[in-house]
């Protein structure tokens, strides 16, 4: 294969190059490798299929019992009480509120930490602080939940200065803040790796043109690492939506259609956890609600991810 062929094909860094190589002289080792790699990738598809299959049957059974319109528009969720109501909106609003609070903490602080570690910190500091942050990621979520409940909530109750009632024993604010702190390492670690991988020539070039460190960081490094940073953000959002233990323990088990963070509210994941580890006989409507809510969660994250992949693709800058 000639160098020019390689240079041209490498522009897409994809099948073109592989096909060019394989067409010249089939290397069975290469084909075997390709095959096993495809299998690895397909495993993720198999997992999704399995999840969909596991979720689908009870969900369909549920929707035969409760109309989807009722499910999506009723404002009360009390499926396991004796006179059940099946409106998913309270769970949905709670998931939204908690995710929003968590992201307000995790995204700016995560990115800020990442920028500091990548651009300003000495290698020794970086080597010390980055692992410390990663320890934060390993603390069991149960511990965070109880920390929110027993330490943060009383603290918030004491220093509450905003209008409206101070937060009660369960409230979305404590859970959201703690969840945000828990997600910081995820965002920071990945974003930092992305920025560390930006070639130094770019920074050098920027400095040579007289830019300050601030300008270089904000206008050169961050845009170059944008794909990685956005991936870090998306992973952070995914974590926030799917988090179960912290919200169960600190935000409570009472569904509540409200956007006031000082109130208690039950998210979709908290409901699934509470009902899933509980006493519902298999096959009952109560049991099926778990799957219906699970499917809703799955659908929402799917749509959100499709959107974000499209956005990332558009703004990703490729250097070299």
């Amino acid at each position: 294969m000639s160098i020019s062929q390689g240079g041209e094909a490498a522009a897409t860094a994809g099948t073109a190059r592989v096909r060019a190589v394989l067409a010249v002289k089939p290397r069975w080792g290469e084909r075997a490798v390709l095959g096993s790699l495809v299998l690895c990738a397909l495993l993720s598809v198999a997992t999704t299929v399995a999840i969909v299959v596991a979720l689908l049957e009870p969900t369909i059974a549920f929707f035969r019992h409760v109309s989807p319109i009722e499910f999506l528009t009723t404002t009360e969720w009390s499926p396991l009480f004796s006179d059940p109501e099946f409106g998913v909106l309270p769970l949905l609003s709670a998931t939204l509120v908690l995710t929003a609070i968590a992201l307000c903490v995790a995204l700016p602080f995560g990115l800020g930490s990442a920028i500091y570690l990548s651009e300003y910190a000495s290698p020794r500091t970086r080597g010390l602080v980055k692992p410390t942050l990663e320890v934060l990621a390993g603390i069991p979520t149960v511990v965070f939940g109880f920390f929110a409940l027993t330490f943060l909530t009383p603290l918030l109750q004491d220093v509450w200065f905003l209008p409206g009632d101070p937060p009660g024993v369960f409230n979305a604010l404590s859970a959201g803040l703690v969840m945000g702190v828990m997600i910081i390492p995820t965002v920071a670690s990945l974003a930092e790796d992305a920025m560390a991988a930006v070639p130094h020539d770019m920074r050098a070039g920027s400095f040579a043109l007289g830019a300050t460190k601030l300008s270089t960081t904000v206008r050169v490094v961050v845009p170059a690492a944008l794909s990685g940073i956005v991936a870090a953000f998306i992973l952070g959002v995914s974590r926030a939506i799917g988090e179960t233990m912290i919200v169960t323990i600190a935000s409570g088990g009472t569904p509540n259609l409200s956007f006031d963070p000082a109130e208690a509210m039950q998210t979709m994941t908290a409901f699934i956890a509470a009902a899933g580890i509980g006493d519902q006989p298999t096959g009952s409507v109560g049991y099926q609600t778990i799957f219906a809510v699970g499917t809703t969660l799955f659908a929402i994250t799917f749509l959100m991810n499709m959107l974000s992949v499209r956005i990332v693709r558009r703004y990703r800058e490729v250097y070299e």
């Binding site: 897409t12 993720s44 995560g110 602080v129 069991p140 702190v181 560390a196 994941t269």
Partner: protein
Amino acid sequence: MSDLAGPNPAPEGLYAQPARAAEVLGRQRLRERAKNALFRGLLLFSLLLGVVALVVLLADVLDRGLGHVWQVVTSFPSGLPARAGAQSAIMGTIWLMALVALFTIPVGVGAAVYLEEYADRSRRWNRLIEVNIQNLAAVPSIVYGILGLGFLVRGFVGLGQTLLAGALTLSLLVLPTVIIASREALRSVPDSIRHGSLALGATPWQTTWRQVLPAAIPGIATGTILGLSRAIGEAAPLILLGALTFVTFNPEGLNSAFTALPIQIFNWISRPQDEFKLLAAGAILVLLVILLSMNAFAIWMRSRYQKRW
């Protein structure tokens, strides 16, 4: 400055008044420096939030649990707080983490390599896989528990309520994180490296194995750390699968019944007796030590292979 009007034109505007120019530029430089300092301060503040939160949490846990760590490590679960420990849970967690690492690293990196190096990005099939993986990262852990129960414990694979089923379920939970992080790591390797290798006559796999992957190890290590950190603290899916809360023996093989530290911690926290909460703090410390050792290894790998281009 306007376009050049010939050799050595007379200086205009600010440049004609050197003294004033120096003053203005000096002020600008000061403003720039202030902005830079403020920016740096804000970043440092962001960093400190996470670190301070960790220190506060650790201080609380250490204060409560340090005295009980020995009992937690050497005894087995019991109804009496004076006798209770979590050795079976500790061994269960260690076995689980080892198996999860063994499974997710090759499969996760393999999938990432396929998606980054071999797949044709313009085909819809590959885009779907991408979205699919990101979606899986957001699925709550308990849904993985349902999945494991339906397919791994019963049904298709039928492993029963064993250590292997638990490890595989956790691996599926963690796989999306590892894949996403590995992909970013692979993306960050400059294409010039690949071009150079191919130009010298290497096959795509040789290029990947000998040039791209070693360069991507830091990012892959980060992804693995994040993934394993999550897996080590998960209780809900394991409970659904049949990890028990009361086991008085260490795991004896892949087919053994088992328990894990987060389950034991959650169980102890929910007991009425206050002494159990102290034991729970001790168990949390043990969990963090295990986590730190795993991380230390991965960090060593990361720093060893870290390259700055």
